[in-house]
Symmetry: C2
Subunit: 234 residues, 2 copies
């Protein structure tokens, strides 16, 4: 969290709790500072809060200033996606078996996305475009070839694996990091109020169903599931 709460003296521009830059000495804007601001904003208030106008305001600048740094909002989102992919710390190739290495790669992606569930879903649009994304794809395809998959099948599996890992993080219905604790309890109560005759398993699993996404097991177990799936489906 590189949020910088500031108590403003001058009223030069509105300075919210999530203001991303200090007012006194406003250095020049850059793509990176804007992306950084967008990241903290999305983390704190969800992707919907990431707005051209809001970003401008956070930086004490006119909305139109953004258009010098980005062509349009689409390319701003692209930059957010690439920020995620750039944060993936890809493990060096080893002489371990393909499945161990594949798991390590997927885990690395997971680790980079988990801090940002609000916009992890954006990563998908740049895996085959950004350099860091292509590197992931390259390594994944290589390992799948090593596993003995024919090319077409390797492409299908690689695409699916990357999407699945992203989904593992982004599937959370709430866009924001903290699903508010309150809503979760209500959801659980709703489920347990169902007809016990028709939904016995759902009722019994209600606490797990609402909680499991925030446990460590959800990620490790389902990564295992994926890798086992690849091995078994050859």
């Amino acid at each position: 969290m590189n949020v910088i709460p500031v108590a403003m003296a001058t009223g030069e521009f509105r300075c919210t709790a999530y203001s991303c830059r200090v007012a006194k000495q406003r250095q020049r804007l850059s793509r990176d500072t804007i992306v950084g601001c967008a990241v903290t904003l999305a983390d704190a208030e969800g992707l919907d809060a990431v707005t051209i106008r809001r970003l401008a305001q956070e930086n004490g600048v006119t909305p139109m200033a953004m258009y010098w740094h980005f062509n349009d909002k689409e390319s701003l989102l692209d930059a957010l996606a690439e920020h995620l992919l750039d944060n993936v710390v890809l493990p060096e190739p080893t002489d371990e078996p393909w499945d161990v290495q594949l798991r390590a790669i997927l885990a690395a992606i997971l680790a980079a996305l988990r801090p940002h569930p609000a916009f992890a879903g954006l990563a998908m649009r740049r895996v085959l475009a950004a350099e860091s994304g292509l590197l992931l794809a390259e390594r994944t395809l290589g390992l799948l070839a090593e596993a003995g998959l024919e090319p077409r099948r390797a492409a299908e599996v690689a695409t699916f694996l990357l999407c699945s890992v992203i989904t593992l993080v982004a599937s959370d219905p709430e866009g924001v990091a903290e699903p508010s604790e309150e809503k979760l309890r209500r959801k659980q109560a709703d489920m347990q109020a169902l007809s016990p005759a028709r939904y016995p398993h759902v009722i019994a699993a209600a606490p797990d169903l609402v909680e499991c996404r925030s446990g460590e097991g959800f990620f490790t177990h389902n990564l295992d599931l994926l890798v086992h799936g690849v091995r078994a489906s050859r």
Copy 2:
């Protein structure tokens, strides 16, 4: 496609190519007609085109009329999600082994979502709320218990499986059904222009990577991967 193109005589309201209701005899609005309109609109122009104001216009009605039928846009999207889940034709329970039945359920979900890639992703938010979604969850949890998974693990896997199937459809970067053929070729060309030293596998797989999502194999093979994964990770 229940799109009704109309050659308007009167100018009573603007009638686009995707107008969802005929002008001459405007019967009453209902949640169902609005949802139907939203579905064809999303299929044709993407989810972004589904707008309170646009829906009103398509139905020759004031934007505010929507607010009698839906509390807000969120609940409109909820209705879209439930429309998807309602279309799942759940296979009857049989005495086949659990994995065969599980695959059949996942395939049924897939079949319901595939016609609507633009908003298939919405399904996630209502699986544990809508009746038809809860039925899916119930059956899935039952089969996973039958497979011998402990409750917590079953909840994790069920959540992941449902998300993954949805992702299988919704992961397409383009929101619209037809990714425009033109862009696909450009994407493929971009990839094949990469450094052959650094990205040999990506370059070789370029055609497959851009095409594989529209082939039948992408879905059947990855469904198999998931089911195999469940079996192997017990």
